[in-house]
Structure formats: structure tokens, C-alpha cells
Symmetry: C2
Subunit: 210 residues, 2 copies
């Protein structure tokens, strides 16, 4: 594995950024990326994320398997690419959108609102999100996850929580993980509103208690 990027936009680790095409990508490569993303969306829509196999995807898109891995690095990377639009939109909402999710509302209100928004987001895209969380790295150290964590941290600080903000954000963030929420709703039949309600309760107590 080369430590020095071969050319601008390339990424170490054998894969490539899951986001939009890096600048200066060869035309056939760009074409195949679109082909693959399109075919992937079709498969997910038809049969769910679990049915999205790298071999199947390659066959469906009419390319070789190596090409799939060259473009997306791994199955998790592909899933992140599929999610990147929805993820960016969500980030935009809590960073620049209207209150109470976006800036402008008091921190506790923002925490409550952003949690509720996150819950509905996960109930919509959770299947993909879970598939994207294949490794520990993908779960915690990928840019969107870091951004989300930092945002929680900031809101907690603004709300006056003095205890270790990093760990506090981790603990609260763990309550919003896709695996947990999907399990609560899918297996135990918890209503989505209960999730948001309990989140409100939780975060209110944490912030209010001192």
C-alpha cells in the first residue's frame, strides 16, 4: 500500500473516496462509477441492501469485480457512496439549516430536535447505514461520523455539560446507532415517536441535571 498518493484525489488504502468523483478521473472510470452506483441502487430497491453482493453488482453493471473494488474499496465503501447524498443533506440541516435543528435555538432544544431528526433519518436509511458500518473504522472514524460526534459534543458543551464531552457524546450517540434503533423498531415493535420521546427525556435529564 503506497503512502504517497499517486495523483491528486487518489487515496491511500487501495480504495477511493466514497463521495463524488475525484477531479481528473479517467472518463471510462467515471462512467463505470455511475454505472455501478446506478446498478447498486436498483438492486437495493428491488431486493434490499443485504442482497447487494459485489459479484452480483459487477455482473449487473457489466464490469469486472476488480473494478467495483477499485472504485469503492470495499462493500462498506460502496454503501457509504450510496448514502453520501442523504448524509450530506442531513449534515446541512444540523449545520446550516433552520432552527431548531440548525443554529439559532437554545442548545437543549437543538439536541432534542437533532436527535429526533437523526432517528427518522435512520429509520429511512438505516439499512444502508448498517451495511456501511462493517468495521470499527467505518463506524467511528469516517468523516461523517466524526462530524456528527463533534456536533453532539459542541451542543453538550453549549448546554453546560461539564463532564468529559467526548465520552458523553459517545454515550449519547450510542443511543442513536442504526443497529439499536432498527432492532427496537423492527424486532420489538417500538413506535418511532417513543424513540424520539425517550431521547428527549434522556438528553433533558443529562443536560438539566447539573
Amino acid at each position: 500500500m503506497s503512502l504517497i498518493p499517486i495523483r491528486p484525489g487518489a487515496q491511500s488504502g487501495g480504495g477511493r473516496a466514497p463521495g463524488p468523483a475525484a477531479e481528473s478521473e479517467r472518463r471510462d472510470a467515471a462512467r463505470n462509477r455511475e454505472l455501478l452506483l446506478c446498478a447498486a441502487r436498483e438492486i437495493v430497491e428491488e431486493s434490499g441492501a443485504d442482497a447487494l453482493t459485489m459479484d452480483r453488482l459487477a455482473q449487473r453493471a457489466g464490469v469486472g469485480k476488480g473494478t467495483v473494488f477499485r472504485r469503492f474499496g470495499s462493500r462498506a465503501g460502496l454503501m457509504m457512496a450510496l448514502l453520501s447524498g442523504a448524509e450530506a443533506e442531513f449534515q446541512g440541516r444540523f449545520m446550516f439549516g433552520p432552527p431548531p435543528v440548525g443554529p439559532g435555538a437554545p442548545p437543549l432544544e437543538r439536541l432534542i430536535a437533532v436527535g429526533a431528526a437523526r432517528i427518522s433519518w435512520i429509520l429511512e436509511f438505516g439499512e444502508l447505514a448498517r451495511a456501511a458500518d462493517a468495521s470499527v473504522y467505518n463506524r467511528f472514524d469516517v468523516p461523517p461520523a466524526v462530524l456528527w460526534h463533534r456536533h453532539l459534543e459542541m451542543l453538550l458543551r453549549e448546554a453546560g455539560v461539564t463532564a468529559d464531552p467526548w465520552l458523553m457524546a459517545s454515550a449519547l450517540g450510542a443511543a442513536l446507532e442504526p443497529e439499536l434503533l432498527l432492532h427496537a423498531v423492527g424486532v420489538h415493535g417500538i413506535a418511532p415517536e417513543r424513540l424520539a420521546e425517550t431521547w428527549r427525556e434522556l438528553v433533558t435529564r443529562v443536560v438539566g441535571g447539573g
Copy 2:
């Protein structure tokens, strides 16, 4: 998958209970179970849980691969079998042990203490525990997980938390998951005492806030 147990002690899903041998197990089967558990412990001790491959284990124990799966059902089942001793000991501590982890102390103190105990437990056995959490079922619906969850639920109720106890226990329990704790300690270098401290802070606020 048959819904009716073939014989007492057998378990649906193609595997067998991860605990001690079911009554009336054929002698060669029992012998192989011990052989396998022993070989598995050796491999884990030598090279870590990630190096524990089903093929390798079978080869090392001198049995066929089919036998491994017959005995333990899956890799996760094997990991649970390896953990069952430590897990039972931990259960004993919070159910029947001396306070403040066991009964006899006020609920908030018990919550704090049992969380701290859980944290050290995970820092000791977390690698195996993480490997045992392969599927959603293994994470949430396996008997020890259910027992643990119920215990948290009970303590919260006793401490006067009125909000949905099941979800509250899920949220707080998520802050103690192996993947999260191991990541915090291993990647971010958080000191174990900080984990316990933050847990104390978290649970105190949740209980105290109303």
C-alpha cells in the same frame, strides 16, 4: 430450521446451547466439545480472537469442520461458549453478590457500581465479547444480553425513572457496548477510570433529573 427441539437440551437454529454440555450427550461428542474449547482457548491466547478460524480450530483439535459447527452452531456461538464462564460469574455478581454491585445498596449506587464493573469486565473479555456479537440476535436477544438489559431496567425503575424503562435501559446499555468501549480505550487512549467516571456522571444525571 426446525421449531421443535429434536431432543431435550437441543436448540433450534442448527446449533447447540453455548453453555455446559446438555444432559445426555454422547461421550465422543462431549470429548470433542472439550477438545475444541481447549484448542480454541489456546489459539486465542496465542494469537488473539481474530485469529480463531473455524478451519484452524478444527485442524488443531483434530476433528472435522462439520463437528465444530455441530457443537457450537457458529463462530459467535463458539465465542459465547468461551465466554460463558466469565459471563456467569459476572451475572452472579450483580444478582447475588455483595453490594454495591449486588442487592442491598440504593439503586443509583448499584447502577454506578454495576456500570463500573461492566466496564472492567469488557476491558478484560471484550475481544471475545465483540467476536460473539456477530449478528443482531447475538447482540440483543441472547439470554445473557436479555438478563443484563432487564437488570438495568429494574435498577432504573427502582431509582424512580418513569420514562419508558426498556428504551432507557437500551440507551444506557448502548454506552457500555464492547465495540464502543474498546474503541475508546484502544484507539483514542481513554483511561478506563474516565469511562467509569463518565458513566457515573451520566447515570446520576439521568436518575437525579426527575
